[in-house]
Subunit: 215 residues, 2 copies
């Protein structure tokens, strides 16, 4: 009924076009793997910057220079693509691993490192925008549990390990919104060594075993 006519223009309007694009040298015209990779990269960048529902699949497709339909065709759904991005995003894993004594300092240094890099707000930005669909929340929860909370707990001794790990997670997850809203300048303005020391103390306060096991 509403379908009237399609495709009256031959798809690109002006003769050859690909050869005159100097950047991204010689991308093959039809390469599924490469296209999937471009979509995944675009999704990682955009999700990292704007969160899950701060990004549309059309934006992802545009940045990947791919058609919108390919996003769902290759990854099933936006939520599935999000999960795919998350599983690949495991920088924090290496940060947590190591000797337990140095964990607070490593977390602090990771935090400060994120201040300097501009695109590295990545993961923490994805966290807070989840509420929309329960499906996304589930994906997110699983990821945080596996990649942050459990690895931290594994390094802790003493009671209430989980609660202590969650307090540390609070700092990690609060960093994203703060950086995003207030910008990086204010944190960058301070002495990095000072900030690192401060954050180390904060993480230590969150994670250290109770000082008074029996009163």
């Amino acid at each position: 009924m509403r379908v009237e006519d399609k495709r009256t223009v031959p798809a690109e309007a002006s003769g050859e076009r690909r050869p005159e694009r100097p950047e991204r040298a010689g991308r093959p015209k039809r390469d599924r793997e490469a296209t999937e990779r471009r979509i995944l990269d675009a999704a990682r960048d955009l999700f990292g910057e704007h969160g899950y529902d701060g990004v549309t699949v059309r934006e992802i497709a545009a940045r990947a220079e791919a058609n919108v339909a390919l996003v769902n065709r290759y990854f099933g759904s936006k939520a599935a693509l999000f999960g795919e991005v998350l599983t690949g995003e495991s920088v924090i894993r290496g940060v947590i691993a190591g000797d337990p004594a140095g964990l607070p300092r490593r977390l602090a240094e990771h935090f400060v490192r994120q201040i300097d890099q501009r695109s590295a707000t990545a993961m923490s930005r994805m966290l807070d925008r989840s509420a929309g669909q329960p499906e996304v929340k589930k994906i997110l929860l699983r990821y945080l549990e596996d990649v942050i909370v459990q690895p931290i707990i594994a390094q802790l001794e003493g009671p209430d390990a989980r609660a202590r790990a969650l307090l540390a997670s609070t700092i990690i997850m609060g960093g994203g919104p703060v950086r995003r809203l207030f910008g990086l300048d204010d944190l960058r303005a301070a002495d990095p060594a000072e900030v690192t020391d401060r954050l180390t103390a904060m993480f230590t306060a969150a994670l250290a075993p109770p000082v008074r096991p029996e009163a």
Copy 2:
């Protein structure tokens, strides 16, 4: 052209209806102030729980038992209503005010108090969902600056006061997502006094003046 007929049913289908509603005793039929208040309350609850764009104006209207159009009629727009909610939401103000020495402990106690109340995640939930429209981000930034960051800075001495206040804000803002994603049980399971002490130490580490003014 597409308008065909309206109002074929006399608006409430079954005779009198208001008297048979036991709850909300004797709400007057036409009371603008009361309706505005109901909308505002509903908005505060829902924004607090699901964030800005996790809530639709239709949901707000439904919870307020008001018509959708009234939301925009009385408050101008969804964003304006959000701003209205924020200006009324100043519990944290009283928490920050007081003697500077006790500030970390007051912040910690506020954090723990939010664990116990179920609907008090309020403000921190609104924070992270702002990215969508820049207008909302602006409203949010202004609010955080006026109600949290500046009052904290006012209590600080020494250099980098702003950076230190932002570190404390990190904890405050991270609490929302953590509670929302992981639930309250894990934090509630731990000894509240323990958690409060821990958080006090965390806030102190963030806010305290530098220990080594000159090295």
